[in-house]
């Protein structure tokens, strides 16, 4: 029961944090193609492979905000979707990084990759594609 209460509390904290996040979607500086939010949603749900998406790990509150605001589904729905693809051999989920610095570093060094970070963390090594409020 204590565990249950604790998880409620944790879930509550996460909800508060995600509500405040303002995130930006970033690509390699050389990217000149126009990429819509729909394209991003397709890339992050395995329906398109034109770009290599990278994710933040579950522990990072930005992840939940991205899933909800950019992909329009909750993190657990996205997880359920990927588990279906993984366990039928039809796809593997995006690479995950623990920190936004790692995401920026990966995107800055991989021409066709796409990632997202909190707007306060963005650096000039990447190109900002969209701001998701």
């Amino acid at each position: 029961m204590k565990l249950l209460k604790l998880s409620f509390l944790l879930a509550g904290c996460l909800a508060v944090q995600t509500a405040q996040a303002d995130l930006v979607i970033v690509v390699h500086p050389s990217m000149n193609e126009s990429i819509t939010i729909d394209d991003i949603s397709r890339v992050y749900t395995g329906r398109s492979s034109v770009l290599e998406p990278v994710n933040l790990s579950d522990a990072n509150p930005i992840r939940g905000a991205f899933d909800e605001k950019a992909l329009g589904r909750t993190s657990s729905q996205i997880k359920a979707h990927w588990s279906k693809l993984v366990f039928t051999g039809k796809g593997s989920p995006p690479k995950e990084f623990a920190s936004e610095e790692e995401v920026l570093n990966y995107v800055a060094n991989n021409e066709f990759s796409i990632g997202y970070v909190d707007s306060s963390k963005v650096s000039s090594s990447v190109k900002v594609l969209h701001t998701v409020k």
């Binding site: 998880s7 397709r42 909750t74 993984v86 366990f87 051999g89």
Partner: protein, 413 residues
């Protein structure tokens, strides 16, 4: 031996540096208890949850019917070839791990690949991942639809993926075969009159061997940002052999009326009498299905319509469907569902008549609570109703009405 293989598989990544390994897994701890219902012929109030594994709940709590844990390993042998193995340990098999799947995936190009080996048979909308509880809202896909003895097959699958405007399309063609031996589920059908119509109160035990040969089929799946839809078709040769029983009617005084009935189930050496060359089923089966998911802002609707035909003397047809709606709150997902299955006899065989021979329905009410990003707790109530016992048709395969309460913890890693 199995444990040695598992240990080896875990150690391999450290010894074979050149091969890229990915390990993931899923599991479910499921408990259930029948809360109300009618007695079935064996004297229990049963709720069938898994026909092919013969899993059912009674009025006592049980945790060993559907609980399982699975480990998937994908080894990238080179940039075109992957090997996938899935080990599944089920509580029903005393947690002894089995290699459920083993297949090789060869990438022909960016959009097409070939899979060779043992995989799930793409039948119903949820068939390919029916054991991955985390991937769907309920504790289990509707048990009166997902009842076949065969759920996997050995063979080849060709997959072609392409994009068309907003849509992502997946075409697959597959062929293969599968045989399952010593299936207990046939007790269930036979004891309730499925094949032999034994006299009331006669309860026999035995097993069956089922083979689906010449499986050949196609799937087409299309998805956009709110709709995911899938059409499937396959055909196969369905053969069953089983333990059988005979009733020898003896007429000692020759008046045309049997004076004694002798029941025979075993050979003189005590072994069960098998149907042998005389198959209980030996006909072509065709499967047609259309299923999908619709995603709205706060709700998801899932549906599946299926039609199975037997090329048997009775022209058996099985129209089945289910529909389910889920409300998506952040962490709470309440859901409702309804599934219905029917058997229709469409050809008059030897004056047997035509009509509806079986009909049952499951109504589901449940709640999924996403405890963590990779774990969900579920509570579910299922109400099973046998609707097939109306005149002039007696029930082909009687199921007792029952209500089941179950809880599950589904996780992935």
């Amino acid at each position: 031996m199995k444990y040695i293989i598992i240990v080896l598989l875990f150690c391999l990544p450290t010894t074979l540096q050149a091969v890229d390994f990915k390990v993931s897994g899923y599991g479910s701890i499921v408990g259930g208890k029948v809360v109300s219902g009618d007695l079935d012929p064996s004297g229990e109030i049963e709720f069938q949850v898994d026909f092919y594994d013969y899993a059912y709940y009674v009025e006592d709590w049980a945790w060993d019917k559907e609980s399982l844990v699975a480990l998937q390993m994908v080894a990238s042998i080179n940039n075109r070839l992957d090997a996938t193995i899935q080990l599944v340990a089920k509580a029903a098999d005393e947690w002894s791990p089995d290699i459920d799947w083993f297949y090789l995936t060869y990438k022909l190009n960016d959009s097409s690949k070939i899979m060779a080996g043992r995989r799930m048979l793409p039948m119903y909308y949820f068939s390919e991942y029916m054991e991955v509880g985390f991937a769907y809202p309920w504790i289990r896909p509707p048990a009166n639809l997902y009842w076949w003895e065969i759920t996997q097959f050995n063979g080849l699958t060709y997959l072609y993926n392409f994009e068309l405007g907003n849509w992502n399309l997946d075409f697959s063609a597959f062929m293969g075969e599968e045989t399952q031996t010593n299936i207990k589920s046939h007790d269930f059908w036979r004891n309730r009159g499925g094949y032999y119509f034994p006299p009331a109160g006669v309860y026999i035990s035995g097993t069956a061997d089922v083979s689906w040969s010449d499986i050949i089929g196609v799937n087409l799946a299309a998805a956009n940002d709110w709709l995911d839809i899938r059409a499937s078709y396959f055909s196969t040769r369905y053969t069953t052999t089983s333990d059988v029983m005979f009733f020898d009617e003896l007429d000692s005084n020759g008046d045309g009326i049997a004076d004694a009935v002798i029941e025979r189930r075993t050979n003189p050496d005590g072994t069960p009498i098998r149907s042998g060359q005389w198959s209980l089923t030996d006909f072509d089966l065709s499967f047609y299905g259309l299923g999908g998911s619709m995603y709205f802002k706060y709700a998801t609707v899932l549906f599946d319509y299926n039609y199975v035909t037997y090329d048997d003397g009775y022209g058996s047809r099985f129209p089945t469907f289910y529909v389910s709606a889920i409300y998506n709150h952040d962490t709470w997902q309440p859901y409702v569902g309804m599934s219905q299955a029917k058997l229709k006899i469409t050809e008059d065989f030897d004056g047997f008549g035509t009509g509806e021979a079986e009909e049952h329905q499951i109504i589901t009410l449940g709640l999924r609570y996403n405890v963590m990003a990779n774990a969900a707790l579920k509570f579910e109530l299922n109400k099973f109703k046998d609707k097939g016992d109306r005149s002039p048709w007696y029930d082909f395969s009687y199921h007792n009405d029952a209500t089941l309460f179950s809880v599950a913890l589904d996780f992935i890693f």
